[in-house]
């Protein structure tokens, strides 16, 4: 099943034989052996098991997290995917795979996707760039430093298969310019353009929101009201700050978002800041959810799950509890069959309604876009609040920019992921307008004129700061670019989902086919999917939060409780590491006269010790 055009898989980049640990001998011996995954490194298994506890159809992120959780809990799992690659709706694809994918969508082979349009420049494939130099995510995501998924990645040790990079630059698009967020105490203090009272109000809000739940007296009255009203009434914040908080920090799509939901989202950002460093968010190198799905599949395989690609479910009979597959094989199921709606069998009648739209516009452009990235970083988030675009957008448009340093595209290019929750043709118009704004901005910011313009801030010798020029962006409002941006790849598509935008996964979709009271719900005669559970498809949510919530809910449905959801403890090795790390005999050799080296020996441990 090896396809010459695919990207190097995670397992190839990090083969199981390679021991990445260099801390201590104890650790080396205790690292779990990671098997290759069928379909990627190994040929597909000749036979499938006779019976399993759970059959999972689809290798999207939710199904893969679930596979790992169930396998470690002790259930036997068979996970299949009708595609030749892992990831399904979370996949990371090469340009050639993307071409095939678009054809499949338009032949209606792929349910839940519509209206896919792909433009590819002749520079790809023929010379300048190769198809597999790109890894395009179907549903790009970012990972908050303090989040459920991150703690599960650590607990399950799936993080060892992955590489993470930080993302600290969040921009809000306003008045034709990109404002970088002012969100830390340091930035608020040193920002010379913020009025004093605004500084105070912002700081007051930030202190409040970190413990907002325990201060009901402050927000109770606004429980059912939009958060914008709360921020203006209670904290006297100005529009610019309100928009930053709701759209860039909270990453909400709509100004009407309710106070508690928005506070939760704003806090998510702020508590994530400085957990691993001065940034709130991480992402996995080489591709987002596609990498994570593979990581969880690998982890599930370690715990005994069986994998088959290019395999589809034909039907499941809840009476005999037998699942039949595309190759004619059968398997007995003791617990449940769980299906991604994209991979439901023919004659399905029970697929939950996918009534919400996510519209995406993904572009690869021939600009590195490093202007938008933080120092030493390769990605950023740009948010277009409602009404900030020429299209008069009613909802926010979010853009995730990934540079070549994240290894999803070749040097000199970058990938722009634009997402909108607006439905119908308006959605496409908003995405186009946002693309235009990004294009205009990068053309003038990367033009040579600006390169001579050193710093905008002047700091005198006692540290007092003065602003010596107007803000970047604004000063070039009149600038007309001499060259045009080259768009190498442009992909539109609409994805449907059962999850409403920016709300938690709706658990009612899991109740289909469940007994109501004592009576079994009537099975639909002739349906091929009676008695199965369906997973929710990704929504427009930019974080991974919903995926982990969905996986946990499904786990609880299948196992009966979520007590064992990744209740893993690989920690016994750590204790020995700690002790051997305290006095390391090799340390003397590593110690060098140059201070940098001297001080950088295990900086993480050191930093931890210093925090008192």
């Amino acid at each position: 099943m090896i396809n010459a055009e695919r990207r190097r898989s995670m397992a190839e980049r990090r083969p199981s034989t390679l021991n990445r640990s260099s801390f201590s001998a104890e650790r080396k011996s205790s690292i779990a052996v990671v098997p290759h995954l069928a379909g990627i490194e190994d040929p597909l298994p000749e036979t499938t098991p006779d019976t399993v506890d759970v059959v999972l159809v689809g290798t999207g992120l939710v199904e893969s997290i679930l596979a790992a959780a169930l396998s470690w809990q002790g259930s036997s799992v068979l996970q299949i995917d009708s595609n030749s690659y892992y990831g399904d709706t979370s996949a990371t694809l090469t340009i050639d795979q993307l071409k095939q994918w678009v054809q499949d969508v338009n032949k209606s082979n792929l349910k839940c996707y519509e209206n896919a349009k792909l433009h590819i420049s002749s520079n790809i494939g023929r010379g300048l760039y190769k198809s597999r130099e790109f890894g395009i995510d179907l549903s790009p995501k970012i990972l908050f430093a303090k989040s459920d998924l991150l703690s599960i990645l650590l607990k399950s040790r799936v993080h060892q298969y992955l590489e993470f990079q930080s993302l600290s630059n969040f921009h809000t698009y306003e008045n034709d310019s990109f404002e970088r967020l002012t969100n830390t105490k340091q930035e608020i203090f040193t920002n010379p353009s913020l009025p004093l009272m605004t500084k105070r109000n912002l700081m007051k809000f930030i202190k409040f929101v970190l413990n907002w739940e325990t201060q009901a007296e402050v927000w109770e009255m606004y429980r059912d009201k939009p958060v914008a009203a709360f921020l203006v009434d209670k904290f006297k914040l100005e529009k610019a700050q309100v928009y930053e908080l709701i759209f860039s920090i909270g990453l909400c799509y709509n100004i009407d978002v309710k106070t508690p939901e928005a506070l939760q989202r704003i806090r998510r950002y702020l508590t994530s800041f400085d957990v691993y460093g001065p940034f709130p968010v991480l992402y996995s190198k080489y591709g987002g959810p596609g990498e994570l799905s593979q990581g969880f599949c690998r982890s599930a395989a370690v715990a005994g799950a069986t994998y088959k690609l290019n395999e589809s479910l034909v039907s499941y009979d809840p009476d005999t509890k037998i699942a039949i597959f595309g190759d004619g094989s059968k398997v007995g199921v003791t617990e449940k069959v769980v299906i991604a709606p994209t991979q439901c069998p023919e004659n399905s009648r029970n697929v939950p309604k996918q009534k919400y739209e996510v519209q995406r516009l993904t572009c690869v452009v021939d600009k590195p876009c490093s202007e938008w990235f933080g120092e030493g970083e390769y990605s950023s988030v740009v948010v277009f609040p409602p009404n900030s675009l020429k299209s008069g957008n009613r909802q926010a448009v979010q853009a995730l920019i990934m540079g070549a340093g994240s290894d999803v595209c070749p040097t000199g290019t970058s990938v722009w992921y634009l997402t909108s929750t607006e439905s119908g043709p308006r959605g496409e118009m908003d995405l186009d307008a946002a693309l235009g704004a990004l294009e205009e901005s990068i053309m003038r910011e990367s033009s040579a004129d600006i390169e001579n313009d050193e710093g905008i801030m002047e700091v005198d010798n006692s540290g007092h700061m003065t602003l010596n020029s107007v803000k970047l962006g604004q000063s070039f409002k009149e600038y007309i670019p001499r060259e045009k941006l080259q768009i190498l790849v442009k992909l539109y598509f609409k994805q449907l989902t059962s999850t409403p935008p920016f709300e938690v996964v709706d658990s009612s979709i899991f109740d289909i086919n469940e007994p109501v009271g004592s009576e079994l719900k009537k099975l639909i005669p002739g349906a091929s999917d009676n008695g199965v559970l369906y997973t929710p498809l990704p929504s427009a949510e930019i974080s991974y939060d919903e995926a982990i919530t969905a996986a946990r809910m499904l786990f609880q449905k299948i196992v009966g409780s979520d007590d064992d959801f990744f209740d893993l403890d690989f920690d016994d090795e750590d204790e020995q590491i700690d002790e051997s790390a305290v006095v390391d005999d090799d340390e003397d050799d590593k110690m060098n006269m140059t201070l940098d080296v001297e001080m950088s020996v295990e900086p993480v441990d050191f930093a931890g010790e210093m925090e008192i």
Binding site: L196, K199, R200, G463, D571, L595, V601, A607
Partner: protein, 327 residues
């Protein structure tokens, strides 16, 4: 403990842990006994020196052992290897990495630098780099700040170059990074009088004005932070500042701060229904200067502020009562 998972120890693991601990305790006791015996006998050999290393790695707080180590080093001075001092410094660096707040390690490091053959300036420059590194890891470790002062003073003596400006910039950098840095504000307050006295501040009045905007900015950013309030209290009464201003300018400066504080306090009342205690305390300070020193004809509110403080901050009520009795 912060961020450290509590682990349910199984019986088996518990036994193993106890066995490991027992072994450690035995080692520690054996080492302690040997060192203390040698110390009592005034017995110094390279082997004994090596034993103190092992013991101090287990317990860096054992100052008697550090003292013995120094005696041993001085006694053995002539037979030490040429790289001894470099290694000794490396040893304390390692110790500081693990225990950045142990006095005796800092003390020993300083002793090493002074005893270091020739004690060259390059060595002290490296030392400043080390302190920078330590302060970048924990900007509020007062041990590091104290040590920094000593190192800077030595560098100044050796190079005959004054480093006040560099050090002032350093405090700005640290305060900008985190305004709740008491050590940095304190260091700033000790540098400024020296700099004024030495004529190192070119345009004094405009400097004072910018410093005023800086602290007003700080109190608006975080009115809960006491290090800022302490600094303001110092700033408005510091001779090096006050002596540079004429009465009108001084009045003006006080009033600017007072206006800011009143605004913050009003806002606090609006928001939480409570007044800000630091605002009230500073208002007392400012009013005292305005009335007692500048003889301004303003309505005194000091006793009103103190009454509120007694109510809001009952733990210090006697202090406020005492202040209220004082004119």
């Amino acid at each position: 403990m912060h961020g450290i998972k509590r682990r349910e120890l199984t019986q088996e693991l518990l036994r193993k842990k106890r066995a490991r601990d027992a072994e450690k305790i035995t080692t520690y006791r054996t080492l302690t006994e040997r060192v203390l015996t040698s110390k009592a006998r005034g017995y110094y050999t390279p082997d004994e020196l090596e034993i103190t290393t092992r013991l101090l790695e287990l317990n860096p707080e054992f100052n008697a052992v550090w003292n013995y180590r120094r005696d041993a080093i001085l006694t053995l001075k002539e037979q030490l290897r040429s790289d001894f001092w470099v290694n000794e410094l490396k040893f304390t660096t390692r110790q500081l990495q693990a225990y950045p707040k142990v006095y005796w390690i800092w003390n020993h490091r300083l002793w090493c630098l002074n005893e270091y053959p020739g004690s060259p300036i390059e060595r002290w420059q490296l030392e400043l780099a080390l302190v920078n590194k330590l302060l970048s890891m924990d900007a509020r470790n007062f041990h590091s700040w104290h040590y920094r002062k000593i190192v800077v003073k030595r560098l100044e003596q050796m190079s005959r170059k004054n480093l006040n400006q560099q050090e002032l910039d350093y405090t700005t950098e640290k305060i900008n990074a985190n305004i709740s840095n008491f050590s940095a504000w304190h260091q700033r307050a000790s540098l400024l009088p020296k700099m004024f006295a030495m004529g190192q501040i070119p345009d004094e009045k405009s400097f004072i004005n910018r410093e005023l905007q800086y602290i007003i900015n700080a109190m608006f950013t975080d009115a809960e932070d006491q290090s800022v309030w302490y600094y303001i209290k110092w700033f408005v009464r510091s001779d090096c500042i006050v002596s540079k201003l004429n009465t009108e300018e001084y009045k003006n400066l006080l009033q600017q701060i007072k206006n800011g504080i009143l605004l913050i306090n009003e806002d606090e009342k609006d928001f939480s229904g409570k007044e800000n205690m630091w605002c009230l305390k500073l208002l007392c300070v400012l009013e005292t200067i305005q009335i007692a020193q500048l003889k301004l004809d303003i309505v005194p509110k000091r006793s009103e502020y103190l009454d509120k403080l007694i109510k809001f901050d009952p733990l210090r009520q006697n202090r406020y009562r005492y202040l209220a009795q004082r004119p």
